[in-house]
């Protein structure tokens, strides 16, 4: 008898907890910010947007290209996010897709002399082809083995593909001139921010679509996804295709920022940086990874400037060469303590900014339950 009562008590307790949760969820779904809340949120969002739009004019003229670079890294971060965050496939060799796009665009601009926007399309296509090679391998291999293949691919790309003289110009590189309407750095920065905006829009619509949800289902469990009628082969390849297109376009924009693409611009270390910024930003969350990308685009310059201007301890010892070490430390701290990265640390802020309650973190961070699924 006594045990039965105890069991009843436990069951009752569980039922009560479930009811409580359901009630809270319903309440949260019904919740709308007050008028003042809406005004405050719109004001903050507007200010951030204004700051981003004004950034090419705000920064000193020598750093205008840095804004372009930050936008390019943002696009790369979104590209990484599709693979690492949504599809659950690790890529340690994203510098290969990025570089293939850059050289594709440079070749199209210099050797075929086609218009800039058409060259962007070429970059998207070459990036997609570069990614689909790995995608085809990923159909057979997963986890650790896929990770090894991406590393070997990155080395193969940097040492071999990027050094084929007739395609990439060898060590001297291939010129990637900007078109006449984008020769000014400020205009080019706006162009890059615009493409980042488009990529963001695309990413948003992707996660809201059936295809996007199918890709995320692959991350959680391929077999379960297949049992729900999701075509694993197609959607995995689609994830690699999207990632490759985004990386290729980013590569083309990167090449034209400096006006030339050389093999040394795309070392294996760059691929590691791309992975680091995605994980540190918070894989699975578009706002997190973009912040990670921007952070790592600016980090070397920030460190260099701090080293020159602040004559107090940490800055006297470190300069731009410390960037990989700081990135690595951030990555370790993220993996061990906050697997959700920047997005996890900002979950309340992100919830608030998406017109929810400050404490309401459902879905606002876009993470799988527990945040573990979004780990690389």
């Amino acid at each position: 008898m006594a045990t039965e009562t105890a069991v009843d008590a436990v069951v009752e307790e569980e039922e009560r907890a479930a009811e409580e949760l359901a009630r809270k969820t319903l309440e949260a779904a019904d919740w709308r910010p007050s008028t003042r809340g809406v005004v405050a949120r719109v004001a903050v969002l507007g200010f951030v947007l204004l700051l981003i739009l004004a950034s090419p004019h705000l920064v000193p003229a020598v750093y205008t290209n840095l804004v372009s670079r930050a936008a390019v890294y943002g696009i790369v971060a979104l590209s990484m996010n599709v693979l690492v965050g949504y599809a659950g496939q690790v890529s340690l060799g994203h510098n290969a897709f990025f570089g293939v796009g850059a050289f594709g665009s440079a070749f199209a601009l210099t050797k075929m002399e086609i218009p800039f926007l058409a060259a962007l399309v070429v970059a998207a296509l070459t990036g997609a082809v570069g990614a689909l090679v790995i995608g085809a391998v990923a159909l057979r291999l997963r986890g650790l083995y896929l990770a090894i293949v991406t590393v070997a691919y990155a080395f193969f790309a940097t040492e071999t593909i990027f050094n084929i003289r007739s395609l990439t110009g060898g060590g001297a590189g291939q010129p990637a001139p900007r078109p006449s309407f984008l020769t000014s750095d400020v205009r080019y920065a706006y162009f890059c921010i615009g493409i980042l905006g488009l990529a963001l829009l695309f990413d948003w619509r992707l996660t809201a679509s059936k295809g996007g949800r199918a890709i995320q289902a692959l991350r959680d469990d391929e077999r379960v996804a297949a049992s729900w009628g999701i075509n694993v082969t197609s959607f995995k390849l689609l994830a690699f295709l999207i990632s490759g297109v985004l990386a290729g376009v980013a590569g083309a924009l990167f090449a034209s920022t400096e006006g030339v693409a050389t093999p040394l611009d795309f070392p294996f270390a760059l691929g590691l940086t791309f992975l680091v910024m995605t994980v540190v930003g918070g894989a699975g969350n578009r706002w997190g990874v973009i912040q990670g990308g921007v952070l790592f685009a600016l980090l070397p310059t920030l460190l260099e400037r701090s080293h020159e201007n602040f004559h107090v301890f940490p800055f006297t010892a470190i300069d731009a060469t410390a960037e990989p070490a700081i990135g690595a430390l951030l990555l370790l701290v993220t993996l061990i303590f906050t697997p959700g990265g920047i997005a996890q640390q900002q979950k309340h802020l992100l919830a608030w900014l998406s017109f929810k309650r400050w404490t309401d973190t459902r879905e606002s961070t876009g993470m799988a339950p527990g945040g573990m699924g979004a780990r690389p």
């Binding site: 340690l92 990770a147 293949v149 070997a152 071999t160 084929i164 992975l275 370790l332 061990i336």
Partner: protein, 304 residues
């Protein structure tokens, strides 16, 4: 004939170092299911420690390579390697025990990045001279192929390390290590301290890494920050996969085979004037893809 011999000799020289690194990779993978991307750094950092001993702890001196100093440097390097291996396990890998293998791989990649970057900050990215254990070489009888003594030393060390590891797996601690690798929970129930076994595996991997670093430095008679990672890690990784990631025999034979394959690819590229840039990377990538697609468990691996 002499070309084939030359390809073999050059291949075995690099391949022996690949094998030492691959042995460390395989041992750690077997014991902790972690693919250690920092295995190359377990060679670079000890090599630099040995270099510091030989220069009298100056970061930019000429190494004094008298016999006594060299042996002290070797012992210090091996100790540093073991310590480094244990540190990586204690500070990083232990905390990620519940995470997926890919997460711990990314973590070891971060350790690699951190170590390379710190080495660049302390030592600058420049090449330093590093003495070989035995200089010179001998001409292979009947041909004009020169075999360096360094290659012989490396092969002997490799054989010794492999034999000691094979012996280890026949002693009680070795069996406990195998048990930990196969089923940590059951091993714990049998009174095996899983964490101690994992620490031991990382320490041995550190020693193997240090040996690889000292002998890898001898291949070019020079060291530079991250040299083991950039030159030897990827071929060693591919060699380990080729031999079967969990197999010690596989690691040794896979590393040696890959050394010969790479050397043959280089020779083919040269003699037929194909002009393919980065031939070693092409060879490694192709071998990796073929192995993973045709026989994912490798030549000697027991499981996929």
């Amino acid at each position: 004939m002499s070309t084939i011999l030359k390809v073999l000799v050059i291949g075995l020289q690099a391949g022996a170092v690949y094998s030492l690194v691959a042995l460390g990779l395989a041992l750690v993978y077997k014991a902790t299911r972690t693919l250690n991307f920092a295995q190359g750094e377990l060679g670079t950092i000890p090599a630099f420690a040995g270099y510091l001993v030989m220069t009298g702890f100056r970061t930019s001196g000429e190494p004094v390579a008298d016999k006594g100093r060299f042996w002290i440097a070797t012992i210090v390097a091996i100790a540093v390697g073991a310590l480094l291996g244990v540190l990586i396990n204690t500070l990083v890998i232990r905390w990620l025990a519940a995470a997926s293998p890919v997460t711990s791989l990314v973590a070891t990649a971060a350790v690699m990045l951190l170590s390379t970057s710190l080495a660049v900050i302390v030592f600058d990215p420049k090449i330093r001279r590093f003495p070989q254990y035995v200089g010179g070489g001998f001409t292979f009888p009947g041909t004009d192929v020169i075999v360096s003594w360094q290659t012989i030393v490396t092969l002997i060390v490799l054989a010794g390390a492999a034999a000691l590891l094979a012996l280890l797996f026949r002693t009680p601690p070795g069996v406990a290590l195998l048990a930990t690798a196969q089923e940590p929970f059951a091993a714990e129930l049998q009174g095996v301290s899983v964490s101690a076994m994992r620490t031991m595996a990382w320490a041995i991997a550190g020693v193997l890494g240090a040996l690889g670093g000292l002998l890898g430095a001898g291949v070019f008679a020079s060291i530079a920050p991250g040299f083991m990672t950039s030159t030897f890690l990827i071929p060693a990784l591919v060699g380990a996969v080729l031999g079967g990631l969990t197999s010690m025999v596989g690691a040794v034979s896979g590393g040696l085979m890959l050394g010969v394959i790479v050397s043959a690819a280089n020779q083919i590229n040269r003699s037929f004037e194909l002009g393919i840039p980065g031939t070693p990377q092409v060879a490694a990538f192709v071998v990796l893809l073929l192995v993973l697609l045709l026989r994912p468990r490798g030549l000697f691996g027991q499981e996929a």
